[in-house]
């Protein structure tokens, strides 16, 4: 048993039970979500651990991590604040929102705040175009939508994280 199985054994079994027993590989995406809960990104060791469970190589697992944008292969902030600046949101002011938010938080697009807490990124459509400006927050464990936003509201949210995390 590898560390992932030790920690999440039951959950992993439940995931595997969703797919035919000869199609274990289908579980790679759900298992990567489980693995990512640990550190907010997938480590080299975890690539091997996920591969072991499914009987595929860690290179194979790495290619999946590289292909899908919600998996990360490098550490970022504890919170990834992902602003949608795709066309429909941009028509409703998302570009300016994104720029203003970056300058208020003193980060470059794609960068992380000086306290290491928040990574701010521009992302593609999140199926919330009627409630722009909007962003999602990806933490280690979940993804939450924040819609009909203002820069002030977003900065308040970041401040509340800073308080919780003693920054």
């Amino acid at each position: 048993m590898n560390p992932l199985q030790e920690r999440y054994g039951q959950e992993i079994e439940a995931v595997l039970a969703k797919y035919p027993s000869d199609q274990k590989r289908s579980a790679v995406m759900p298992l990567l979500y489980i693995a990512q809960r640990e550190h907010g990104h997938i480590t080299r060791e975890q690539l091997g651990q996920v591969g072991d469970i499914l009987g595929i190589s860690s290179t194979d697992v790495a290619s999946i991590v590289g292909f899908y944008t919600l998996y990360h292969d490098a550490p970022g902030g504890k919170y990834r604040l992902q602003v949608c600046n795709d066309l429909p949101c941009a028509l409703r002011g998302a570009d300016k929102f994104f720029d203003d938010l970056c300058s208020r938080l003193d980060v470059q697009p794609g960068g992380t705040t000086a306290d290491g807490l928040v990574t701010v990124e521009g992302v593609m459509c999140l199926a919330a175009c009627h409630r722009a400006p909007m962003f999602q927050v990806q933490s280690h464990t979940e993804i939450t939508y924040y819609e009909d936003q203002t820069v002030d509201k977003a900065v308040q949210l970041v401040d509340s994280w800073r308080q919780v995390n003693g920054k």
Binding site: K18, P20, Q23, K24, R25, S26, A27, V28, M29, P30, L32, Y33, L54, I56, S63, I64, F67, Y68, T69, L70, Y71, D86, L87, P88, A90, L91, R92, G93, D95, K96, F97, M124, C125, L126, A127, A128, C129, H130, R131, A132, P133, Q136, E142, I143, T144, Y145, D148, T150
Partner: protein
């Protein structure tokens, strides 16, 4: 309005199981499983004329009848990837009318003889998937899902599966690859999923909205369904309205409603006394329609939208006002497709890369007219030469805007300041 898909706006708490049951929920499924054979279910759906709401508008009943009955087991895969920029309808249906959606999935599974159905949701719909999981568990406890349903032989299990941020996984064969745990890259077709789908087995892939229509079609009949919409595009459609419009949101209207009625009557028109300039009726994959009177009076259905030079697609209506310059707009759409190209075939992978270089230069006023022509050439070179439709999609806005909004490009090529300066001042109307 709201007769079929967005009924939760009329019936309070329809997202709760007891209320859905009070509104005849799951009676149709029970009746189908206990009193109809699968072919009869398919016949009703065929007769209704329902067409797929995921984009291509293919006859749903016809697709179901293509399922290969010589090869087993069969699967149903629900396309809940909803990633086309401008589209947010499946999300509302699954969030607010989840049981009708699930009953549609269950009826489809019964009709095509599938004992397992996977609902593939985009990874960002993480919370929504957790809600659906709860509903599925509940349905198992209540005896609507599981083995030997209603004392008969038929059994069915539903599972959710989360994607992880890749637009291409909305393409049905890429979705199947992704569900098999591989890179989300499209397959060469034929063979099509009804003969060669998930795990190489016969598979029906349908969009969320498509399936959400099915319970009422079975309950009330094909003729009732055909009393909405047009002859060739029966039923209602959820139009996702967004962009430069007063009241963006989802509107369930008859297919064949005009752009004008959607944008001006329901959507409240254009904010800040701006004028409407263009419409993209199928999200970012769309050609740009010049929003003149002829276009505004065009019925939004599968047969009429092509007459103004676009497709209805997923009916994600993006409204663009006269403060927007097209060089800015196509820079956005090309950026999207460049980012989302899966890289499997050269024209799309390389073509979107070159288009992005050009649209960046043009938008930043660093280009001459020759570059606009070059951009047009690159786009034309991509079109029709790709493995999947994403390649073509990436060119639609580019080619149509250079053709139909030429003066925008002439202005930037001549070094005029682009009206997008106005855009940067703009704040959300909220």
């Amino acid at each position: 309005m709201n007769e079929i898909l967005l009924r939760h706006r009329e019936i309070q708490n329809l997202d709760q199981f007891p209320i859905y049951r009070q509104n005849k929920g799951f009676e149709t499924f029970k009746h189908a499983v206990t009193a109809m054979n699968p072919a009869e279910v398919i016949d009703v759906v065929k007769a209704s004329g329902l067409r797929g709401r995921g984009g291509a508008g293919f006859s749903t009943g016809m697709k179901w009848s293509f399922i290969d009955n010589k090869n087993w087991p069969h699967y149903v895969v629900v396309n809940a990837d909803e990633s086309e920029p401008g589209t947010f309808k499946d999300r509302e249906i699954m969030e607010s009318n989840p049981f009708q959606f699930l009953e549609g999935v269950m009826l489809c599974a019964y009709a095509v003889g599938a004992n397992s159905a996977y609902i593939y949701l985009r990874g960002e719909f993480w919370q929504l998937a957790a809600e659906l999981d709860k509903h599925i568990e509940y349905l198992e406890r209540e005896g609507f899902l599981g083995d030997k349903l209603f004392g008969g032989e038929y059994g069915l299990r539903l599972y959710t599966h989360l994607g992880a941020g890749a637009y291409i996984c909305g393409e049905e064969t890429a979705m199947l690859e992704s569900l098999e745990g591989k890179l989300g890259q499209p397959r060469l077709r034929p063979p099509f999923p009804p003969t060669f789908g998930l795990y190489s087995k016969p598979t029906i892939v349908n969009n969320v909205e498509t399936l959400a229509n099915v319970p009422l079609i079975l309950e009330r009949g094909a003729d009732w369904f055909r009393s909405f919409g047009t002859e060739k595009s029966p039923g209602n459609k959820v139009f996702s309205l967004c962009g430069n419009v007063e009241k963006p949101g989802n509107y369930e209207l008859s297919l064949g409603t005009t752009f004008r009625e959607l944008i001006f009557t329901h959507g409240g028109g254009i904010p800040r006394r701006r004028k409407i300039k263009a419409i993209m009726p199928a999200g970012a994959s769309s050609s740009l329609i010049v929003a003149d009177d002829k276009a505004l009076d065009t019925p939004m259905d599968y047969e009429n939208v092509p007459s103004v030079g676009a497709q209805l697609g997923s009916a994600s209506i993006i409204v663009i006002d006269d403060s927007v310059s097209m060089d800015w707009l196509i820079n956005k759409t090309v950026h999207f497709f460049k980012h989302e190209s899966c890289g499997k075939c050269t024209p799309c992978r390389e073509g979107t890369y070159w288009m992005q270089h050009l649209t960046e230069r043009i938008h930043h006023g660093q280009a001459k007219w020759d570059d606009v022509i070059l951009l047009q050439d690159v786009a034309t070179g991509i079109k029709g030469k790709c493995l999947c439709a994403l390649g073509d999609f990436s060119t639609e806005a580019v080619v149509s805007s250079i053709q139909r909004f030429r003066s925008d490009f002439e202005a930037v090529a001549a070094g005029a300041p682009t009206p997008v300066a106005v855009r940067a001042e703009q704040v959300s109307p909220k």
